[in-house]
Amino acid sequence: MTTIVTPRPELLDTSATKDNYLTYTRGFLSWALTLDHKRIGVMYMSAVLASFFVGGVFALLLRTELLTPGRTIVSADTYNQFFTLHGAIMVFLVIIPSIPAALGNFILPIMLGAKDVAFPKLNLFSFYLWIGGALFTLYSLAAGGFDTGWTFYTPYSTTTTTGGVIPVLTGVFILGFSSIFTGLNFIVTVHKLRPPGMTWFRMPLFLWALYATAIIQVLATPVLAITVCLLIVERTMNIGIFNPSMGGDPVLYQHFFWFYSHPAVYIMIVPAMGIISEIISVHAHRQIFGYRFIAFSSIAIAMFSFIVWGHHMFVSGQSGLMNTIFSLISFSVAIPSAVKTFNWTMTLYKGTISLTAPMMYGLSFIFLFTIGGLTGIHLATLNTDVHLHDTYFVVAHFHYVMMGSALIGMIGGLHHWWPKMTGRMYNEKAAIIACIIIFVGFNVTFFTQFMLGSQGMPRRYYDYQPEFQIYHVISTIGAYIMASGFFLCAACFVQSLLGGKKAPANPWGGRSLEWQCTSPPPHDNFSAPPTVGNCYDFSMLRWDEKEQGYVVDKELEAVAIAAEARGHS
């Protein structure tokens, strides 16, 4: 595995700076009707970040309301709508599409060495499906909002008088298909568009992660689609499949819902793990430790994710036998997660670590994911879960995993590939400070909630016992700290867009293919399929005083190519 990229002259086409994907064509329609995966990725990213802002505002409103028991700023009904919206927006509009659809769309084909995804039109179509789903979600607000919780548990969701339930379910249905088509596109792209030399085990781990994610997207999402369909039919035509008073079964709904929504957790976290594998390896300038274990652990997580859904229902009335089986299988997910964490940590060993902004996010991820993952053990264990189920302990756990890990991974990835996407650098110091503020704010917010939950505070509570107030106040202060960190982070990006330093093609010394083309990449990525080597071989990097970073040394690279040629002959 000492192969490295054989640079072809046309790949390093410097004239492409004049003709990158941003300037290739101009005008609104050239974006709205684009089939270029990079532009679609950028559009997704903007839309996802806008949704993240909206979801974040709801989060802050929730935390503010919870400063005092009883009414602080809004009524109970409004609060119920807020947490439902916060959940639905963050899950369906932000985290699920954030890494696969936004970053993945931009990076996957370039990293793979392809010119585009396999079905560019389908790709654009799934973006517009996302827009459609988002519009329906917005419309549901106009139609009276919805207060069902993002889980839409029956019979509450079929009987609540809020008028926005059907629109939002339609939105979720549409968003589901957006996600399915993205996954389908990625699977076919990885299978069929790998250029010569890009064997499965030369693929960067981010691609393995996206591939595993795509499998989940394709195989789990249809069940959500039919479930929300049934819910819509139940609400409009009253067919009674989930209605206990008509012989239906509300627990069946929960099975259907979690059959999708548990794998969906891995749609969120697995690609973030892929990003972290890239970030840790590139910024430590060191071969990733245990490549195959990490690659297979992604696939293992994807497989296990389909058979553990029942652990969301330990107290829902499913049989004790089912609970036992689901508890046992749930522990199996711990193993691949543990493997990844240890391997990332070992990758730091004897590395050459640059503490850049992406690396800071990478290290935050390891910290937060370790907490999020380990507290999963409390919840997979049957008797402790009975106490912790539906308390703030669960809220804290899944925020550590979904936000502290998946979203931090996404933001880290955005910092990692930002120079590639925009062609601009950002203020590194400010970005690092933003990362630290977010990290501190996050822990203050959510670690408190672990205590809150294990002390017995149920989730989705508008009003609470006075003894819980101190925890809530600390948590709310943490949320404000975190929000300020995100604003600083956003300011960094805006400053970068307006007046950032021009980015070199390879600012971090990365070895995967996306660092071979210019920043921003040309319209066609690669004019001919590139040949590929070991994307985790950093031996040809040297310190460059002018760039204040690691760059590829041509002589060392030539030595490596010669060594590779000998190895092959």
Partner: protein, 324 residues
């Protein structure tokens, strides 16, 4: 974007790339339908085929959830399912099964002819498939309308005789009914009153299941059924087309059978309609002469889709019509 590339785009259909870029490799010049990001027609075809298989996997899972719901409900109410299937017309269902299998055959032949560039034979096959799909829907329409006429419908309507069978007073009462009103069910202290009260001899809930304790806000469902109980009392039995309501052997919760029947066959029917649309598009393009030995991907893909739609019916037919 040049007009030439727009033209290119129209002709290549699904796999085209509007931003067609001028890297005129030999393969791309030879095969105008080859999208810019593929190297060879074989790669493009394989990609499309894999994509279609994945899509069909999602379709199978889409229906799969409903099959699971069927299994769960069937295990809960076995007597309902064996009773309900008597109301389905096995002859019509059987004819429909044959029609669909035949249309699958013509579709497969269509792919065969497309690969060999036989345009007329392909067109005949596509039209025959289209006719099969339409025939299926027509028969399904008769089945549905017959059942709806007999009031074999989903939900609480199952227990409400159709409007025209009611006396004038009742219809007026129905039209001016206030918001769902819980019925008065004599309930002993300490036992839960039922959300769905008895309707004649046919309680709508399984007596073996604990009766839901609700008389309160159960939404439309309970309300409508309750209301039904208020109006069905005075109806003269022999005016009813709802023969099932008079059948003393009808098990409780029979509406569940029809709910899942309409859900599954309805979703399948929707897929047949989608199939007709895409076959129509194929007919349009085949008439134009798009397909030949080099390029028949769309025909192949629609063929796969159609077989899956067929296959789903092959499962639906015995599950609903044949198993007593």
């Amino acid at each position: 974007m040049s007009s030439a590339s727009v033209d290119h785009e129209v002709r290549v259909g699904h796999e085209g790339h509007a931003d067609g870029h001028g890297h005129g490799s030999a393969e791309h010049e030879k095969y105008p339908f080859l999208a810019h990001h593929f190297e060879t027609p074989a790669q493009q075809f394989d990609s499309a085929k894999l994509g279609m298989w994945l899509f069909l996997a999602t379709e199978v899972l889409f229906f799969g959830a409903l099959f699971v719901a069927y299994a769960v409900l069937r295990s809960r109410f076995p007597e309902v399912f064996s009773y309900g299937s008597h109301y389905l017309d096995t002859v019509m269902g059987g004819i429909n099964t044959c029609v669909l299998i035949l249309s699958s055959l013509t579709m497969a032949l269509g792919v065969y002819f497309a690969q060999r560039g036989k345009r007329i034979a392909l067109l005949i096959c596509l039209w025959l498939t289209m006719a099969g799909a339409a025939g299926f829907l027509v028969i399904k329409y008769f089945e549905y309308s017959h059942k709806i006429h007999e009031n074999l419908v989903w939900g609480p309507g199952f227990y409400i005789p159709p409007h025209d069978a009611m006396g004038e007073a009742e219809s007026v009462a129905l039209a001016h009914a206030p918001a769902p009103a819980p019925a008065v069910v004599p309930a002993p202290l300490n036992s839960a009153p039922s959300g769905v009260p008895m309707i004649g001899a046919h309680p709508a809930v399984d007596a073996s299941v604990v009766k839901p304790a609700s008389m309160g806000p159960l939404g439309l469902g309970a309300g409508a059924v309750n209301h039904a109980s208020a109006v069905t009392h005075d109806i003269i039995p022999d005016q009813l087309p709802s023969a099932h309501l008079e059948d003393a052997k009808m098990p409780p919760n029979t509406h569940v059978f029809f709910a899942i029947y309409y859900a599954m066959t309805g979703l399948h029917g929707f897929h047949v309609i989608v199939g007709m649309v895409v076959i129509g598009m194929l007919i349009y393009r085949a008439t134009r002469g798009d397909f030949g030995p080099n390029y028949f991907t769309p025909v192949d893909l629609v063929g796969l889709y159609w077989h899956v739609v067929d296959l789903v019916w092959i499962f639906l037919f015995p599950l609903f019509y044949l198993i007593h």
